[in-house]
């Protein structure tokens, strides 16, 4: 087993406008961030047509942002983000022996956090625009969190239930589908399951965050192909004292290891939308996305 896997990620987005566009401003969240288990080797963007203005900065959550503006007449826009990352294959702390702290104690300790933790952990305990508290979902969540159970254990149980109770059905929901509808319809895509999971955990007072990222397109020989591999993927991370942030992928019912590539982290999808653009001009747009992840 090598010490690390190297992946090359190509994320390509294209807009085809129905008329000519004279000005568009775009904000990207496509550059993979570093994590304790992942480091970025290279990242570059190629944009057609060539933008007049480009810039980049780090956002509130520590994600790398690219901004660009195309200021001349154009009919289509192609944004290709290419990156290479290395992911450690070392065993994750939660794969071995560890102490799983009782969830009520963890929840009770969060409001009093101080220092960087108040911002870095406490903030993820709070409801966000896409993860409002829903009483029904709180009940659903509590069923996996009997008194005294550890945070990790409870999350694992909840992840399994979401995986079983909800059908993975691409196209059944849209970007703005709310969690109430998902709860009622019992189906959705990875983003919906992540929002559901987050909202449930936050409603019982735990800190959890949204992760956008990628999966290897073709599985290595002998391994099953994971759901959500043909587009960008989403899962969540839960803060477990002693383990730091632990990832859970409800779509595939597993704790991500070296086959999940992290792009960005936020409170929900809308904090880490891969590409957000606003254009001036008439005409609607067609959005096509292609993601390709291969071993480098």
């Amino acid at each position: 087993m090598p010490e690390e896997f190297r992946y090359r990620v190509i994320h390509e987005t294209s807009y085809l406008y129905s008329g000519r566009i004279d000005l568009c401003h775009n904000l990207c969240c496509l550059c993979p961030r570093d994590t304790p288990f992942q480091s970025r080797i290279i990242h570059f963007m190629s944009i057609e047509p060539r933008p007049e203005v480009i810039g980049d900065h780090v956002d509130f959550f520590g994600n790398h942002r690219n901004v660009f503006s195309v200021q001349h007449s154009h009919e289509k826009l192609l944004v290709r983000s290419t990156s290479e990352v290395a992911i450690s294959t070392a065993a994750r702390p939660w794969e071995g022996e560890f102490e799983d702290p009782p969830w009520e104690e963890v929840a009770a300790g969060l409001p009093g956090l101080r220092g960087e933790a108040a911002r870095g952990i406490g903030g993820f305990r709070l409801a966000s625009p896409a993860t409002p508290p829903v009483a029904e979902l709180r009940e659903y969540t509590l069923a996996s969190f009997p008194s005294g159970i550890g945070v990790f254990g409870g999350c694992q149980a909840l992840m399994k239930r979401i995986h079983t109770d909800f059908r993975y059905a691409p196209g059944s929901t849209a970007v703005h589908t709310g969690i109430k509808e998902i709860l009622a319809g019992r189906q959705g895509v990875c983003q919906d399951f992540a929002h559901l999971f987050l909202s449930g955990l936050r409603s019982i007072g735990l800190a959890a965050r949204y992760v956008s990222g990628y999966l290897e397109t073709l599985p290595p020989p002998g391994k099953p192909r994971l759901q959500g591999a043909d587009a960008s993927h989403a899962w969540i991370e839960v803060h477990v004292p002693g383990l730091d942030w632990v990832p859970f992928d409800p779509t595939n019912n597993l704790c991500p290891g070296s086959r999940h590539i992290v792009a960005a982290i936020g409170r929900d999808y809308f904090d880490v939308q891969p590409l957000r653009g606003i254009f001036l001009g008439s005409g609607s747009q067609f959005l096509g996305v292609r993601v390709d992840v291969s071993r480098a």
Partner: protein, 858 residues
């Protein structure tokens, strides 16, 4: 604006001027019933004047409110009453008391500024647990894109410049956290002033404060002088100085006031824009290119250095604001990041408004300023803490419950007004998500007199005070403000429940300077002289105001002619007049493009006429043109003088009145005359009171193009197309009447109604302001005055007009009058008119393309 006039005389005992209310503190009278010092002169005035002076106040107030308010009172135009009424009794403060309040307000403004610097910078308040992070992070006024993370950006970003509240990075100018903040104050039972709210997102009300002062200083001029009331203008001069104190790159700093689309805050921003002399813009007037903000003007794109925003920070940039926002200027935050534009107040300033801050303010003031709060805040408990939650739930009946995110739409709830069942619901709601709520002690604020009819009545009131922080960190407090009193004798002061606004007088121990001017000291050229300063949207609306005013005018002339013929003509020869009317209906239908078109037959004509006079949903009807005229002129209400606005109102309101009064179509004859007069008054006034700049050119160009177009069509129907011989002279006369040239014709040609003379007068006579040549002549003059934006686009419109004039010169009136032997039509005239019509339509399109359309690359 309206004045409270309901009478309450019955409640008053003879000889008694004012009786205090149930509140523990009254502003006018102390516990013993003696008049408080600052009110002496005012009270003496009431004692002397009695009912007579109240009547005079009411009268003068309504007059001034109408005069000042008519220009801006938006709700009235939309058919609703404004939320404000104005009361002629001021809230008077003595000099020494105000000095203490002033220090307290200044401290609050400094505190707000320090809180912003901390929350968007180091976040020590959160790190040290002085302020629970939940209160900050759950507030939609807290804008994450502006959080400065020095460490991360020093390492990670090549641009490295996040717009913080300190100078950071080479290009970024020091951005003040806060420029202008408002503090709502009320006097508690103990006689101290308490802080009720802090406002910093886009503090509302300064325009009203100015307007109230402008009214009251005229209603009570002598008392105003006697009391030595502080003037407001100095504050605004300082504010303007702050706004203009930005890097200018060698030109005059351009400041714009950014208001939301639609009517919200229109009064306020239009008033302030006029008062301060800045352009008022909506998001669509601005564009971001090269990480700079530009104003789309008639002269092309012009750089903007400073934006005073009158819209919420979270709506400023749809690219980076919360999901789903469609307002704002895309790319604005990036332009701020690049240090190319200053936005005041800072977009993230709204976070200091959350009532969640209140319980923690004493500790925050100690930590950030090292000071004790001068003005106390109304006792507040945040329900996110277990003990505080228990306290609030245990005393729910005496609590005022507020949401910590004031942008969530949660309405303040007064526990005292709830039933047991409602209290239970509220309790469950709070327990469901306690961190979202605060409980505030319900305080009964002091009362002060309000004039209700001819009686003074006690009402609770709160004072909105304003402080301006300069770049050097000093705070200047407006000596005055906006007072709001309850409409009824209740304790709840709210703009939604309807309130009364009052002027606030701060007395000075020394006579203030007699006159403070806002004019700039030396001969700086005013913005108006440069066409490049007129936003394209303004230009476009001026153009369409001109077109619709003319369209309404011509529609009214057709209708008046038809009505007149019905009344007078039918008696003489009804068969001939019937065919004459056929002509008028046909021409009207086609010229005004009435849809559905008027039926050719004579039946139901009265019904059709009624619809043309009354139905604004029918395309081509008179009310439709008036409505469009109103809409276009209303969009740019800040460009009109007060008199022009009154003329607009007269046109629109006059017609509305006529519609409600009319019992048959014939009742419209006199109102049509009146409308023509009002429209002419509007056009005349506007042309008289506007400078001869690009905007004026467009207003008149719109009018000329419309007049030429409608005239071409009229001539086409009346003279070019075949007309039966016996009715021809009646038709010619109608053509002259509708083109408002009958009197001129008679004077010029006596009684010989020959077609070639009609053609001569309406097409060729250059000094007839109704002729086609005259319209072309004027259009050519205007187009030459319009700015060229470097692309030379104006060339096309000019060429079109020159072509049109040349085309006219190819013929004489006699040639054009030549008839086709077979059907009596005039083919040369017809073809010429068709060509001219095409040119005019193209001209309108070309102007739109060259000056109004910014989806084109410029």
């Amino acid at each position: 604006m309206e004045v409270a006039t309901e009478t309450a005389e019955a409640k008053r005992k003879p000889g008694e001027i004012y009786r205090t209310g149930p509140s523990a503190y009254d502003e006018l009278l102390d516990k013993e019933g003696a008049v408080r010092e600052p009110w002496r002169e005012w009270m003496a005035l009431c004692r002397e004047g009695g009912d007579k002076i109240y009547r005079a106040w009411n009268k003068a107030t309504s007059r001034f409110v109408r005069e000042v308010g008519v220009s801006y009172s938006v709700q009235r135009m939309a058919g609703k009453r404004g939320p404000w009424s104005f009361d002629p009794v001021p809230w008077i403060f003595g000099a020494s008391e105000w000095a203490g309040i002033e220090a307290g307000i200044a401290q609050r403004v400094r505190l707000c500024s320090a809180i912003l610097a901390d929350l968007y910078g180091e976040q020590n308040l959160v790190r040290e647990g002085i302020l629970p992070f939940e209160i900050v992070y759950r507030d939609r006024g807290f804008l994450r894109p502006f959080v400065l993370d020095a460490d991360r950006n020093r390492k990670g970003g090549r641009m490295g410049v996040l717009p913080g509240l300190v100078n950071f990075g080479k290009k970024s100018a020091p951005v003040p956290g806060l420029s202008l903040a408002a503090v709502d104050l009320a006097r508690g039972p103990d006689g101290r002033m308490w802080v009720v709210n802090q406002r910093a997102d886009c503090p509302f009300g300064l325009g009203f404060a100015l307007e109230n002062r402008s009214i009251l200083s005229r209603v009570l001029p002598a008392t105003f002088q006697q009391c030595q009331v502080h003037r407001l203008a100095n504050f605004f001069r300082s504010w303007r100085g702050e706004l203009e104190n930005a890097p200018s790159h060698g030109r005059e700093v351009r400041v714009v006031i950014l208001a939301p689309e639609g009517q919200a805050q229109e009064f306020e921003t239009a008033y302030l824009a006029n008062y301060l002399g800045y352009v008022r813009v909506v998001p669509g007037d601005l564009t971001v290119r090269d990480q700079r903000v530009w104003l789309k003007t008639l002269g092309g794109l012009q750089p903007v250095d400073v934006i005073w925003r009158a819209m919420p920070g979270r709506m400023l940039d749809p690219l980076e604001a919360e999901a789903g926002s469609v307002f704002g200027v895309p790319g604005l935050f990036q332009a701020m990041r690049a240090g190319n534009v200053t936005v005041m107040n800072h977009p993230g300033a709204g976070v200091v408004e959350t009532p969640g801050l209140h319980p923690f303010l004493p500790a925050i003031a100690k930590r950030l300023l090292g000071e004790e709060l001068i003005l106390p805040t109304v006792a507040t408990w945040w329900c996110g803490q277990p003990r505080e939650l228990q306290h609030v739930l245990g005393n729910l009946r005496t609590m005022v419950i507020k949401g910590i995110d004031i942008r969530s739409g949660f309405q303040t709830i007064y526990g005292s007004s709830l039933s047991e069942a409602q209290l239970g619901d509220l309790r469950n709601r709070i327990i469901g998500d306690p961190g979202l709520y605060v409980g505030q002690e319900e305080v009964h604020f002091s009362t002060l007199p309000c004039l209700n009819g001819l009686a003074l009545e006690p009402r609770s009131a709160i004072l909105r005070a304003y402080g301006l922080q300069t770049r050097s960190g000093e705070v200047q407090v407006l000596p005055g403000g906006l007072a709001r009193a309850t409409a009824l004798q209740s304790y709840i002061v709210s703009t939604l429940a309807g309130g009364i606004s009052k002027d606030v007088w701060v007395r000075s121990d020394t006579p203030p300077p007699r006159h403070v001017t806002l004019w700039k000291p030396e001969g700086v050229p005013t913005e108006e002289t440069n066409p490049g300063h007129i936003p394209s949207r303004t230009g476009e609306n001026l153009f369409w105001t001109g077109r619709y005013a003319e369209r309404a005018d011509v529609a009214a002339r057709y209708l008046r002619r038809i009505l007149r013929n019905r009344v007078e003509g039918f008696e003489q020869d009804s068969e001939l007049e019937g065919r004459h009317e056929d002509f008028l209906f046909r021409a009207l239908s086609e010229v005004m493009m009435i849809a559905p078109p008027l039926p050719p037959g004579g039946r139901d004509r009265l019904l059709e006429l009624a619809s043309l006079l009354e139905d604004e949903t029918r395309a081509g009807s008179l009310p439709e043109a008036l409505e469009a005229f109103h809409r276009a002129s209303h969009e740019i209400r800040d460009v009109w003088s007060a008199t022009s606005l009154q003329a607009i109102e007269a046109c629109v309101d006059g017609w509305t009145d006529a519609r409600s009064a009319a019992k048959s179509v014939f009742d419209y004859y006199a109102p049509l005359d009146r409308l023509l007069l009002d429209l002419t008054a509007f056009v005349g006034l506007s042309l008289e009171s506007m400078t001869r700049d690009a905007g004026w050119c467009l207003l008149d160009a719109g009018r000329r193009i419309e007049r030429a177009l409608l005239l071409v069509e009229l001539l086409q129907h009346g003279l070019a197309r075949p007309v039966e011989t016996d009715v021809a002279s009646l038709v010619c006369e109608s053509v002259l009447v509708i083109a408002d040239s009958l009197v001129t014709f008679r004077r010029r040609y006596r009684r010989e109604l020959r077609p070639h003379r009609v053609i001569d007068l309406l097409v060729y006579v250059e000094n007839n302001p109704r002729s086609l040549s005259y319209q072309f002549d004027r259009l050519e003059q205007f187009l030459a005055l319009l700015p060229r934006d470097g692309t030379g686009k104006v060339g096309n419109p000019l060429n079109l007009i020159r072509e049109a004039r040349k085309d006219l010169q190819r013929f004489t009136p006699e040639q054009l009058a030549a008839q086709d032997a077979a059907d009596g039509s005039r083919p040369d005239l017809g073809d010429l008119l068709k060509r001219q019509r095409k040119r005019l339509l193209r001209l309108s399109d070309e102007l739109t393309m060259a000056y109004f359309s910014h989806s084109q690359r410029r």
